[in-house]
Amino acid sequence: METLRLYVELIAVRMRSQMQYRTAFVVDTIGAALAIFIEFVTLALVLTRFGSIGGWTLGEVAFLYGLTESAFGTMDMIFSGFDPATFGAHIQRGTFDQFLLRPLGLPLQIFTSEFVSRRIGRIFNGVLIFAFALANTSIVWTLPKLLYLPIVYVSTVLFFGGLFVVGATICFWTVESIEVINIFTYGGTTMMSYPMHIYNEWMRRFFLFIVPSGLLIYYPALFFLDKPDPLGMPLFALFLAPVAGVGTLFAAFALWWYGVRHYTSTGT
């Protein structure tokens, strides 16, 4: 409870300091939203010409796209402190020491060390694209589907958070490979925005069994859109999103604490 109160208080501080740069906030928000929107419009133009991607209509792809974008945007805001670029800078400049000098839990301090509220632009855009998807698909909304949708959304946020935390962990050893980490996080979102069966076999296996991103958006989408599973996974694969999300984040934090121990024994 005390932790939650401090969290809210420290996040409020971040928000207040960002409000001091209001113009930058507005420009960045609009810029980020515009970038995603243009990306989606490009996709839409390609799709209207070819009709479908792997048998999925524009509305159906927009379902994946909108859900992925809004979840990633939310994660990018909440996990700002774990963004490898931000976190790596703390390691590089030695300011991580200051977290160790405060009588607070480390995750609480990292979560509140940064809060990029302009990511709201990306979230808003994702929601718009998702609304477009709802208007252009004929999803039959049942109670299980209505209950599962927020679970899928939260699980995906946690999953992406896990990727950021793993990226941050690598920074304990090297800060030279931030670009490589970005391939996994940003590349991962792009990948998840498309139906998974268009990728080749080894990629599908990798994104189901190693980094389980396929279980977060694609498989739940099969359930929402009442589509058959072209990959022949067992039926419960449709409902593994929370397991994959929570599991990834959990494993990521276990790794991160290992990184902290490495840091306190080497100081680099």
Binding site: R16, S17, T95, L101, P103, G267
Partner: protein, 341 residues
Amino acid sequence: MISVQHLCKEFKVFRHRRGAWGAVRNLITREARVVRAVNDLSFEIARGELVGYLGPNGAGKSTTIKMLTGILVPTSGELHVNGHVPWRERKTYVGRVGAVFGQRNTLWWDLPVVESFDLLRHIYKISEARYRENLDTFRALLALDEFLHTPVRSLSLGQLMRANLAAALLHDPDVLFLDEPTIGLDVVAKERIRQFIQQINRERGTTVILTTHDLSDVEKLCERVLMIDRGKLLFDHKLDELLRRFGGERELLVDFAEDYAEVSVECARVVARDGLRVTYRFARDDISASALIARLSERYRIADLSVREPEIEATVRRIYEERLLEQTSNREDAKHAKTIK
């Protein structure tokens, strides 16, 4: 208060090969060399002491401070501060210590100073009354009022140091670690910070460990000096003992009343002569200043005189450069070895 026994810290240093091929090889095999940054360090510091921790760059000073503050885990040895093992009980421990690492800001960059303080009140769970009391004291001692409502990012370096010092003490820590607290400051700002540290140490009994390159900090603040080099403790004595042993030669400036042809005296040499004014140099082990003056005034009529102490700065530089302490300890080691035989 602080007890350090046989403390060691080893680091693995990897050799970095250059070039594209080197980078590939770095990934596969890395040549590691083990470096002992802190080597069998032992000392005790009592509650309320103000200790100067000195050593040349790379001597292991900051590694020691990092272990004392719980940032680094020792490779071996014992370390207790106020009954705590710093790294093992990090959260409880750091709630009872304060630290200011020179030129490193711990306050919220975009917030006014006073709002940062207010956040620290929540983080350290300081009671409202105690917080008020401390803030009022620090406002007066450090003249915080001129910038209390200024965002931290707009503070001058001197103001930033004052704000950080106050921030490190709001929660009444038992121990205060200061790493180069006066670096980059002008004379007036340095003096203000020194006075503040002294006052906190005397009035609150806060134990202070101070590392610095500015020896006037040490001269004005510290009674006791720990000096390390290459991870080993070389010296642990009172400040005047340091000067006595390694202070080099003192100078006596004499203005004679008459022009004497011969002005030499035992135990001192004439290093300069300019009309009636003669400068002598003498070692403190050979003769005391008063004995020398007495000896001179027996023979000559003196109009005026003054004694000049060697500067601590020069003294310590000499200790580092000539590795005086190492020679002494080696000699002692050799002696010790002989007696064992």
